[in-house]
């Protein structure tokens, strides 16, 4: 190594500018079933680019494609993260904030706290951790009344109605409320179905929830407690898993493993195939690892933390587990890296054009650990024969304004009229997208 090389290496270490192969990377090569996976790389410091949250000004909205219209149907909320659209047209909006900070195990945590506080700068000042009922009583498609259905929850996220039972996944437990569709109040106090992994760290805290068609089983997504096992294996007990819960007894078994942070759990319409979107690991470079959408096979292992996208071993994890890596299966569909998908809804409505039928809308919360932002939009992926095809199409965009974030999409749902509902957790807004010409 001559002096010039040493100087060049030192300079690029200092500037974190050694990732030119990553910078010229075409992220569209990471869409679909067979994404390009560059070599892992890491500059001296992780390359972050955190958007400051500025919120929506009066009259500002995200952008939708030609032929569609978007409007805010609820504003001034406190971190709405998920929406359940009921068959009678009512919308249940889950407002949610995680309480408490993660323990200060290492100096890095301090920096991460600052980053996360900036990314979630739109924390609403009003009451949160509750479920709102939005009702459209005059049938114009736009809710005209808003009431609190359930209050004093603990960082709720997942919500599903099975018959006359409403299940809510708090960050630490699944709760059941008696609830008849059409009521404005729940019919009694909560019964705890089962505890969920939470604890003092509770890093990935959103517990996504769905039920199978006959309501005999619940499925809950439990995200990991770390990026790649850096808090040890005990912290990951029943985490990075999808659990299958018997709602009668509260007993659960592990349905699938190795999904770092699975969200948007939902069954493909008319099938018994469970789908999820997953946030993959950080700090392997701006273009690793692609986040993904996948159908979930019972008993399958999807790699985290030992490997990614099949058998690509993550060298940061010790001891290594070649036995598990061998068994790891590839997800179905890459969404490109660090887009942070948190919401998934299949289009079951009738008011959008035919190509949307059966396809997937995905809420991408947006990146912070790559120089060029990625995500911050709702994308649509077309499905044929129950399988994703082609490239994702940008559907709801312009959550960013220059370097700042006006909002960040999370949960998505399709309402009774076939409109797309989007929960925007830092914009503190619920958006509704309708097709022009459709009766809304």
């Amino acid at each position: 190594m001559n002096a010039r090389t040493i100087v060049a290496v030192a300079a690029c270490l200092a500037l974190g500018a050694c990732e030119s192969s990553h910078d010229n990377f075409d992220k569209s090569t990471q869409y679909g079933p067979d994404p390009q996976l560059p070599e892992p790389s890491r500059a001296l410091l992780p390359r972050m680019n955190v958007s400051k949250v500025v919120g929506w000004q009066q009259g500002e909205t995200p952008t939708v494609p030609q032929g569609f219209k978007i409007e805010a149907i609820a504003t001034g909320l406190s971190n709405p993260r998920n929406v359940l659209a009921l068959a009678n047209g009512d919308l249940l909006v889950v407002e949610s904030q995680k309480n408490g900070k993660e323990p200060l195990e290492r100096p890095k945590r301090k920096v991460m706290d600052i980053v996360e506080a900036k990314a979630h700068g739109g924390t609403g000042s009003g009451p949160s951790n509750r479920i709102l009922l939005l009702r459209d009583s005059n049938g114009d498609g736009k809710p005209d009344s808003q009431s609190v259905l359930i209050d004093n929850l603990n960082a709720p996220f997942g919500i599903v109605l099975v018959g006359d039972q409403l299940y809510v996944a708090d960050t630490d437990a699944i709760l059941r409320y008696p609830y008849k569709m059409g009521d404005t109040k729940v019919g009694g106090n909560a019964t705890k179905v089962c505890d969920l992994p939470a604890g003092a760290i509770n890093h990935h805290w959103t517990k996504s929830l769905t039920a199978n068609a006959d309501g005999s089983k619940l499925y809950v997504g439990v995200g990991s407690n770390s990026n790649i096992l850096e808090r040890g294996t005990i912290a990951e007990m029943n985490r990075a898993d999808i659990l299958e819960v018997d709602p009668k007894t509260g007993a659960y078994t592990v349905f699938a493993q190795g999904l770092r942070n699975p969200n948007g759990l939902t069954f493909y319409p008319g099938s018994d195939v469970l789908w999820t979107v997953v946030n993959e690991r950080d700090e392997l470079g701006p273009n690793l690892v692609p986040d993904y959408m996948t159908s979930v096979k019972r008993g399958a292992f999807y790699g985290w933390p030992y490997s990614y996208w099949g058998q690509n071993v993550d060298q940061r994890v010790r001891p290594q587990r070649p036995d598990l890596v061998k068994a790891a299966i590839k997800p179905d569909y890459g969404l490109s890296s660090h887009v942070a998908p948190l919401g998934l809804a299949f289009y079951t409505g009738g008011s959008f054009p035919a190509q949307f039928k059966g396809g997937a809308f995905i809420g991408e919360h947006g990146s912070w650990n790559r120089p060029e932002r990625n995500g911050y939009k709702v994308v649509f992926v077309k499905f044929e024969n129950g399988k994703p095809v082609g490239q994702p199409m940008d559907f709801v965009t312009d959550f960013l304004k220059g370097p700042d974030a006006r909002g960040r999409p999370v949960g998505v749902a399709v309402d009774k009229t076939g409109a797309l509902i989007v929960a925007d957790d830092v914009g503190n807004t619920v958006w509704r997208v309708t097709a022009n010409g459709a009766t809304s």
């Binding site: 410091l45 790649i228 040890g232 700090e283 940061r316």
Partner: protein, 154 residues
């Protein structure tokens, strides 16, 4: 003079010498401890040791910066201190701090690659530089220094 001396004057103990000499052993000891915990992590893969290393290096740098400020101030203020401590010491100590700064960044990685191989290499390099800086201060036999100090105190 590049040493701390104490003497009695009218029954009162007086300490004199560069403040830097009181501060600089702290980061040196912390950097050595971080090397020990790095070795423990590389042997065991137990995350606890990696967390220890990260704290030790961060604390070493915090005290190291205090010591560096004292060193710069006292170097500027006193020709005697400049001559007593010497430029070789200053260069070696600052080099150790720079290496440990890079080492802290490497140690913020999650898991194995925070230590093996780069973190551990930088820890070794940082400790060698810090100990070399210590060595430059021993221009007289150790036993003689100790003996003389005891004599002054009594």
């Amino acid at each position: 003079m590049a040493e701390i001396t104490t003497r009695r004057e009218n029954g009162v103990a007086r300490v004199s010498g560069p403040v830097y000499l009181l501060l600089f052993p702290v980061p040196v000891v912390l950097f050595i401890a971080a090397l020990v915990t790095d070795i423990a992590y590389a042997k065991s893969a137990s995350i606890m040791w990696l967390n220890f290393s990260e704290w030790l290096i961060a604390a070493g740098l915090a005290f190291g910066v205090l010591a560096a400020i004292a060193l710069i101030v006292e170097f500027c203020a006193s020709r005697a201190i400049r001559a007593g401590i010497g430029w070789a010491h200053l260069v070696l100590f600052f080099a150790a701090l720079v290496v440990e700064l890079f080492n802290m960044f490497i140690h913020t990685r999650d898991g194995w690659t925070a230590v093996v191989p780069t973190g551990m290499t930088l820890s070794i390099l940082g400790v060698i530089l810090a100990l070399a800086a210590v060595a430059t201060l021993f221009t007289v036999p150790v036993t003689w220094v100790v003996h003389r100090k005891l004599e002054v105190v009594s």
